[in-house]
Amino acid sequence: MKGIDFLEIIGDIDEKYVAEIEENQENKVIRMAQWNSKKVLSYAASFLLIITLSLSLYQIYMPTSESITQEEDMENMSRDMSRDIEVIEEHLGEAVAEIDESEQVEQFEEIIEEVPAEDELSEEKNIFMKIFDKVVSFFKNLRSI
């Protein structure tokens, strides 16, 4: 048999074998289209995410007139706070030093006992003694704690 005769006969094969090729091809095209659409969607999602992030970062970091005022306020506040902290540290340092030297506190108590009556002291000494009294009572309280 000649090749061309055989090819002519093959033309009558069961159509399911031809359909198999066509279906396979169509499925490939569909899969390709699905893959492409997924790719486009993921690109779009990434693009949107990048835009959103960029906008957020811009809002956070870019200076506006409002944010400049806020920044100044913050700076003033932090300056005040650091000053307060310095004062507190100073006082605390003294207090700690006093606590450490508890023997001295006892000596102060003795001194206070020896101090003459209020009327014999000058006004300035009076004030000083009042303050000193308060300080001592403060340390006494501390010790009891």
């Binding site: 048999m1 000649k2 090749g3 061309i4 005769d5 055989f6 090819l7 002519e8 006969i9 093959i10 033309g11 009558d12 094969i13 069961d14 159509e15 074998y17 031809v18 359909a19 198999e20 090729i21 066509e22 396979n24 091809q25 490939k28």
Partner: protein, 185 residues
């Protein structure tokens, strides 16, 4: 338009059936015919003959798949045309395909009667059924759709050597199968 609606148009004998078929499957038809004929004028002529054959055969034929039916019609018409012009208008692609398959079927006696042809078709169907899906698809693409090896590689995403090896093995198996079935002279 859906295939079933086009078939309905053929059944109602509306000429728009041909227009719709041409619109949906025109490119597909020309592609199949071109694989065999390689000459634009012949392809066009074959395409028009296909629409005529569809018009004359539907009804009574009710195709399961219009696409497959069209593929079969235009493929067979193109082979007939190629045979008719064989002496004058040869093309290398088609000659190579014919030579390839001739090696496997040269020992078969030429079938003259329709009954003998149908029997041979049944035997080929049984042979195809026994093959793996991929092997069968490569074989059908090459010897039914007359696709070039390059096109098969591209559409099935396979290497050239794999397609060539598969075709060579399938041809040998076909020869053995036909011999076992008593087709050898």
């Amino acid at each position: 338009m859906e295939d079933q609606k086009i078939i309905d148009l053929f059944f109602r004998r509306q000429e728009s059936a041909i227009e719709e078929t041409k619109y949906k499957y025109g490119n597909y038809c020309r592609k199949i015919a071109f694989q065999i004929l390689h000459i634009s004028e012949d392809v066009e002529e074959c395409e028009n003959d296909t629409y005529m054959k569809l018009w004359n055969s539907i009804p009574p034929t009710v195709p399961n798949s219009l696409k497959v039916y069209i593929a079969t019609v235009i493929r067979n018409l193109s082979i007939q045309k190629y045979r008719y012009y064989h002496a004058e208008k040869r093309n290398q692609h088609m000659e190579a395909t014919i030579e390839e398959i001739e090696e496997s079927v040269a020992m078969i006696e030429t079938v003259e009667t329709e009954v003998a042809k149908k029997e041979l078709v049944i035997t080929i169907n049984r042979f195809l059924e026994e093959q793996k899906a991929e092997t069968r698809q490569i074989f059908t693409r090459r010897y039914f759709k007359m696709q070039s090896i390059t096109d098969i590689c591209k559409e099935m995403k396979l290497s050239k050597s794999k397609v060539e090896t598969s075709l060579s093995r399938t041809r040998k198996k076909l020869k053995q199968f036909l011999t076992q079935e008593g087709y050898e002279v």
